[in-house]
Symmetry: C2
């Protein structure tokens, strides 16, 4: 299921990219600098939108790297504008485009560790389920919440996007268009 | 991986229960009615905390039901206080306690549908990955964001909780205490 969940995360990054586009349009319609939104936060001791987007991107990028054993380039977290954040998101999507099912064949049993863990480690499965999935959706939803709270016109459909619904059983289905 | 992800969601519901406990303590320390928090929201056209908690609970309850074929009782969504929301969360945790790996053996290929889909359906795998996981974490994180925004003392550790770290390879590990 690793490949399918990463594919879903990649889809959600596409949504995040669009939300920032909607944020820029909203700012334009209200005649304020769209990059004001990049520095907003929901609490004084919580990260601003910029950092939420950066961590969201890094969570899925690093998870794909850890679980596949393929390298990931460190990014300097210098984004300050909505457009720069969109470039960061798109670079993460491009990185994820480079993965296929075979890359995650041994994901569950990978040894995942970080320098600050002092030698402690997690299995790939535990890391994915206990850290990567909850953390990715946390920062994605917090970014959404910051925008919603500040008036950007977003709804649940913008969050979930299109879902793979299949036609009624027994219904006549036309030929697929190639 | 279904069983492990449901287990993680159950763990996160336990965190949500604790956040509401922290919210009640915070209200007490500031001498305001804790149930004021239940009606707060981040935007005028977004659901308040009460509904975020109800949907979060229902998302995982219905997903477990759909993917296992086991029934789930409908709940009337009448909660108004933080304590009532905690009871709702605990009832969901109890429901999830009744599932084991064998219940999800055929999860991926279940046919999932809802009356308003007019006969359209999703596979269990698509429903889980495209709807249940993103939706659960969306409402969980939005509940967290409403509390954080209103001053409740929560941090990332309260969100992620304890993770299964394993001891350094080659380190001497004492006998486990039974």
């Amino acid at each position: 299921m690793y490949t399918e969940i990463f594919s879903q995360m990649k889809k959600q990054l596409g949504h995040l990219d669009k939300w920032l586009g909607s944020a820029a349009e909203y700012a334009k319609s209200k005649s304020f600098d769209p990059n004001v939104l990049a520095s907003l936060r929901l609490a004084p001791d919580q990260f601003p939108l910029t950092r939420q987007v950066q961590i969201c991107c890094d969570t899925v990028k690093l998870a794909a790297s850890y679980l596949s054993g393929k390298p990931a380039e460190s990014q300097p977290d210098t984004e300050q504008t909505l457009e720069e954040l969109q470039i960061r998101i798109r670079s993460t999507i491009t990185y994820l485009d480079g993965f296929g099912a075979q890359d995650f064949a041994a994901a569950a049993t990978q040894v995942v560790s970080q320098p600050r863990w002092k030698g402690e480690w997690m299995t790939g499965a535990d890391y994915f389920i206990q850290h990567a999935i909850p953390n990715f959706y946390f920062h994605l939803t917090t970014a959404y919440a910051i925008l919603r709270h500040n008036g950007v016109n977003l709804g649940k459909r913008d969050y979930l996007g299109q879902q793979t619904k299949r036609p009624p059983v027994g219904a006549s289905v036309g030929p697929s268009v190639g």
